[in-house]
Symmetry: D2
Subunit: 365 residues, 4 copies
């Protein structure tokens, strides 16, 4: 209820502030006998880690995951898997200038009013540092999904007004490899270069810029998703909107679909060997809230990071007008690191629904 | 878990199929001593009711709500409020032609595979008829929120490629009155006329078209929303995405915000009499997942209705190719009726978070 | 959260007051393709029904269940099953004498303070009439469990200080038949006769008496129950303690076990054909919160019914001392009717855990 | 769902195995601005700690709590409070003799079948070591309840067949002091001495013995508890039954009450200054599932510890008959340490219901 848990059957609870001793997560509901590949978990964290390139914040954190429980001889035991990530480079002094000021478009003001107290250092609990815990948990979810052949791929499809062309998505593993060859994490190399140049320019101006991430989930069985309220795309939407800075979500045809006619938009069923598939996929792999076996596709929009290297007017805790200066470490554009957070949250949603599917589906037994 | 409930503290559970005996809802968690105005509940249902105008389905349903429990002498007692809405004009025979065929972009196929059985009449549980139960529950939520001075207003801001201009939103009650003066439920009369003409043309072509609904929630106290996963906008997103045909959600600056620079996008705090407000509202009234006292604004995109009056190729339950003919009653454009569903779900989200706020907030006590 | 739902995956939500229009239940999470035998559901309700014998309340209610949704051609469809039971013989006038008085050991006082309003007629929501909805839902759970070969048997093992001898429990179906041959629902005919005589005498004195119910659940697979907090016996305890008038719960060796030595109490594992069983069963079929394949056994203690046919001192809503007279219809001893409620709640707990087992267990797939 | 969380609004999630790196807990939903007194938390852990006296296990654990998050300058911030307790004296080798054998009346067999894998060292997750995390969380709950004047007191009221006389419970603080003056934690010194002698004798025989704990909760406002399923005593029952080795729970008159007549058992309301109280308290402070302002009283029965220092027959993982020898460290009687666990779980239940009360109660606002 207090909002720090996600999922029902594959459930995570995260904790930790930007400048506390550690952040971490408990994963409750991971089935037993999943290979818990610690190197893989670490490699996922490395993709989200600050300081990984010149277009990310220069905070130095190794983000080293420590598994405290829930595994035995390399496998999950069915009991809660607790992972902690100690905080290292905290530089709390950097934040003394915002101790009693509300940074624009940050959560300082709302936390202060809601709780009557806040850890102002680095945004405390509202910091995107919390997402490292999600990435660790998402890595475990991916290891579980791997047993079921399910693949998840996300990449940066837009930065500012720059938009990547539609991908040929036949081989997700190849796209992933391409994506990791540039620091923007766009799977189209030409667009990636353009984005990188633009982000660098924004950074030099002490400014920030928003962006978009597109995701494909493949090989999900037909039948995941619980009508009426827990539709698969509704849970994906909540998962994505819970990520810091996300302001929009669409799946399948999305907002563009709302401008179309039904005769254009309907996905016609056809025989596809032993299976049934659809010619088009405006439904984004989900019909009536339930996966139909086609690729699940969705897009997520991120606002520009609120921390900019410029002076801004604002209000302090006493309600007086004041000015806040642009200091500290920040990302000029959050989407290159957010790609891995989007994948993590997608993995958690699919893992949760896969367990519900096992519980309920007549076919699964 | 099986997906037919929504909310934690103000919680609804709906039931019922398109052609069963009745649909309905249990509202669990409505505080005691709320005036349960049955006329208001019915007037809300009337706005969602089929057959209300020439641009909605001609199914004849009075959608008469019966309250079975939870009230005493006109007030809520704190116990579950059960409301049923009997089904009347079922014409189940109309559906014999789709008994064993999967309608394109409907839930027939996914339900059949998931459950191994389905009530094919009118889409069974996947029918948007279920949303009448949400509207009844949403009306109760609105009555609860009214005690706290909270207002909710939605209208049709787009149909196909037609887009309404931004509204002057000073007086929501006046906008509501304007909205109800046209059958499209757009609060801009000129655009409404254009939309109506277009929808009529689409209907005559046996086709359907998508649209968009914009919503404003006003007078929400500072402090609603639970970080990290149950951010206020994340719960709004889930609520909206759970409505039939919704393919997209954005709040505040939304997708457009992802093209902006931080220096353009930040909402600067200013003194506003006794209160603190922001000059712009790209944050859509929510910062760090918590309401900041400004108007909460979001937009929802609906795909075109899948039932069209044309023949379409498809597959039957035996996996054979076949053709499905365009018969039955349908809406050429769902957004005019969906306005009230969007408001209902918004009211349920805010009611739920208001109770959480009372539970947790130091200020609320 | 508001307390009118039970279970996670096989989840029920009940509604209704003693003297409202109807009571009822939504069952959310019953898997599809279960035969929904309406005659069986009704026969279960008939066993709980008031007026069934001279030792139960003489309120006349046919308790006729109406299924409103969730079934198609006699089978569950996986969607919510809504069942309503209209109230018939309400005689609300009988309650005018308690309109503003707090009946001793009833919920009148606590409801009034908690909610600031209450439906005083027949106890409103606090009436045991609510348990009819549980019995209807429990009957559906039993139909689901039947597919898995699981049997549940309860009987009255104690009334006042009268205690039935331990049963030879080889054949639960035979015990059930014996139990139904007397109005006390004790499977030991000699004790049943003694109990009946005693209850009649208590009734003639205008008094009431408490009692105990013993339960056996058989053929539960090894592995149901989720450590640490959702131990199978912990969920059984909550289920039983939620039944009106229950003041105690014990499983396996229970309170007596707490007087024993470990060397006496340990259940030694032995080979039993292909299976593993234990020589004794002080563990009551549950070890570490998880079923071990042996009979699950527990006992439930019911206080005497609070409504007695005698004058009693009390306080009214204005806080003044007053006297309340003994009127109305009541049960001299609640356990004969409660047997079926205990079975229903047990069935709901096992059904819920069976679905969790399917979700999580490596063996189930 | 996977069972490692407890509570809804004041919610804890525990993790950790007996011989892993650490155990711990996340407390989600503790309101902000509670003084988080670390010394108090540690003193509570010290009362549960192994090795504290000659009648407890000699495992050496300092059980030092480390708070990782959720506090700022000594106060709770409203964000999750994570506490870890590193494991120190693990002596995993002590368990090699049970690596593939199922200890009688332990969870070895059920875990192995349920999960297909288990951490056999010290019982892994099924070890009562997990309860240290509950005690840490319970201490935080007590600090929250202290702000509301609520007191909780438990003591050992029975060991084997030895039973303490009823206490004069006017001064709970004084009783607590008396209780802490003996190693059995019985607040009646004479009985405590008798119990200690008996436990020592049992220990010397390599045996174990069960016992009972009685609890009083004082100054709970009228109105806590949510009918119908989440009755206050039903949640207390689940909380207590979830503690390792608990086989029985009763509140108020309990099992004895089931032998009484209604005319004896009814609690008559009387004026008590400004308040309303009852002459007797067979209701145990709870009526209709809701606190009535009187002392909440309940009793919990613990079976004898299953680990005994004797050889026992059993079965191994291959299903073969074998013998298991009595080795390792164990408690001859668990109740002296369990007193603090019972108090912790009681505090968690009351804290959770206090938050629900704030959310729902008309009086609380």
């Amino acid at each position: 209820m207090a909002g720090n848990s996600f999922g029902d059957l594959f459930r995570i609870s995260t904790f930790g502030e930007s400048h506390g001793k550690a952040i971490g997560v408990i994963i409750d509901g991971c089935p037993s006998l999943v290979d818990i590949d610690e190197e893989f978990i670490q490699s996922e964290l490395d993709k989200r880690r600050p300081g990984q390139s010149k277009i990310t914040t220069q905070r130095k954190e190794s983000d080293t995951a420590q598994i405290l429980s829930g595994t035995f001889e390399g496998k999950s035991t069915g009991t809660p898997i607790a992972i902690i990530i100690p905080n290292e480079d905290q530089r709390s002094k950097d934040y003394s200038h915002i101790q009693d000021k509300f940074r624009p478009s940050h959560a300082d003001y709302t936390y202060q009013v809601k709780y009557g107290i806040r850890d102002y250092r680095g945004g405390g609990r509202s910091s995107a540092r919390e997402t490292a815990a999600r990435v660790a948990a998402g890595a475990v979810a991916k290891l579980f999904l791997k047993k079921h052949g399910i693949e998840i791929f996300a990449h940066v499809s837009g930065v500012g007004t720059i938009e990547a062309p539609n991908l040929d998505a036949k081989d997700l593993a190849a796209l992933l490899e391409t994506r990791e060859q540039n620091i923007v994490r766009c799977a189209d190399p030409a667009t990636a270069a353009e984005m990188e140049t633009f982000i660098n320019q924004v950074r030099k101006n002490g400014d920030t810029v928003g962006g978009r991430i597109s995701t494909i989930i493949r090989h999900v069985p037909v039948g995941l998703g619980e009508p009426v309220f827990d539709k698969l795309h509704a849970d994906l939407a909540k998962a994505m909107m819970s990520i810091n800075a996300v302001h929009g979500f669409e799946y399948g045809s999305g907002f563009d679909g709302s401008t179309m006619l039904g005769s254009e938009h309907n996905d016609i069923f056809v025989k596809d060997g032993d299976k049934i598939s659809t010619i088009t996929n405006f439904s984004g792999g989900i019909q009536g809230g339930i996966s139909n076996g086609m690729d699940i596709t969705f897009k997520t929009a991120f606002k520009p990071v609120a921390t900019i290297m410029r002076d801004q007017d604002t209000i302090n805790e006493e309600g007086q007008e004041t000015t806040i200066s642009g200091k500290g470490r920040h990302d000029p554009c959050v989407v290159p690191r957010a790609v891995i957070i989007v994948e993590a949250m997608a993995a958690l949603v699919i893992a949760d629904h896969l367990l519900k599917y096992k519980a309920y589906s007549t076919h699964a037994h």
